[in-house]
Symmetry: C2
DNA sequence: TCTCGTATATATGTATACAATTATACGGGA
DNA sequence: TCCCGTATAATTGTATACATATATACGAGA
């Protein structure tokens, strides 16, 4: 019997089912729908060009992902995310990113190592040019490389979940010059620890990298709009 | 806007939708369906007495929960869980249970503290009598109390997820006399640390409690059937 | 004017019908 | 006997119809 992925994701982004799911999901994450807004099956179905059936199935999944809340016989509502939720996620991520860095040190492939080095090189380049868009993209990618390199489907999925989750908030951060410079430096330190095979050091660095990212969010007042 | 639960679960166990979901889920977790077995929509629908529609919606959720894998246009297959998956989960849980114990120390209510003390008292009683069924139940409950006491929906949900997940394996363990005695002692230590307000100690103890539980599984050969 | 009950409209919940895809059975040809 | 193509059956994917629950509008009565 083969090894099945645990914690399956909606993989086929281009099947009809996947399209509906990802479309609604992206609309929520991009902030198109406001918190608390009710999503109607027919309206969304018509917009995408499908009937209610695929929409409903997507709703069920989005509920498990925590993006909407379905009240039986009433409707589906876009969920909010409180400041405490974000804080908790960063604390959890801090531990798990540390574990991930440790495992990545032991399992990273040559190709992944090279992509990580290239990522940091590019990040520093775009930081010097002030390209915020590319920087955010590369920042996300750095973490994803590490998730893939840790060689654990379980951990990779958990971290991708949380990563996606806080994107709603994070979208607005990382724009300050000082933080992005510091973040890049921290990425470089983590990368060098991984390359040197220093697992415990990598873990410690990834750990504090998350905590610092959170501290930065709080200090810059990004959390103010998420008070309960 | 109010605070919504992040990572929603299928709450209403007694609605039709919830019933279908939980029925299939329990059947998978109880081992009624074998790993790799194909689940057919009509067959399951007929058994429960509903049409394909609710079954399909339940399938979509079970896929996200990682219990089945849906191959488009083919079918739904019960997923396996490899020895490495179990190992990874225990490593992740070790960290998160530690964090949970730390937060529980800071947030546990009077009622929760009392239930925890009662839980340990009962555990030791049933252990002395050799009541394996009740011991397993109380063991699960001990952890759930801690999950609830940590006062973090995010962490609670993540831990309940993992906890549920390894139940498929754990169902068979904890039966040895020596391990259950040791496990009870560890629970007591954690409880006392929480009661004394020693957060870091509670974290450390919960940490190693998980690692020891995993070590026990491996040593007793419970993982042999889960080789990839 | 306010309250409450009823009627209507609207939305979700479920079942069914039809379409599309995949698996299976069968038979001809080498 | 084996291979392979076609026909058929079975299963999933989607749309639609009907059932049920909820929200809204309106009017009677106090």
């Amino acid at each position: 019997m083969g090894s099945y992925d645990v914690k399956q994701e909606v993989t086929d982004k281009y099947s009809l089912r996947g399209r509906v799911f990802h479309k609604i999901r992206d609309d929520i994450l991009s902030g198109r729908y406001r918190v608390g807004e009710e999503l109607r099956e027919v309206a969304i179905g018509e917009e995408i060009g499908v009937s209610r059936t695929p929409v409903r199935e997507a709703f069920r999944q989005l509920e498990l992902e925590g993006l909407i809340r379905i009240v039986p016989n009433k409707g589906a509502y876009v969920t909010g995310i409180t400041a405490k939720d974000v804080r908790d996620i960063y604390m959890i991520r801090s531990l798990l990113e540390g574990l991930c860095a440790r495992w990545a040190t032991e399992n990273i492939s040559k190709e992944q190592m090279e992509e990580m080095e290239e990522n940091i090189f590019l990040s520093e380049f775009h930081a010097s040019k002030g390209h915020t868009e590319q920087m955010a993209e590369l920042d996300n990618r750095f973490h994803e490389i590490m998730y893939e390199a840790c060689n654990s489907k379980m951990l990779e999925h958990a971290l991708k979940d949380y990563h996606q989750y806080v994107l709603r908030v994070r979208r607005k951060t990382l724009s300050t010059q000082t933080r992005s410079t510091a973040s890049n430096a921290e990425h470089r330190d983590i990368m060098e620890a991984i390359r040197a095979g220093e697992a415990e050091k990598a873990e410690r660095l990834a750990n504090s990298h998350m905590l610092k990212a959170y501290e930065n969010m709080v200090q810059n007042g990004y959390m103010e709009h998420y008070e309960e």
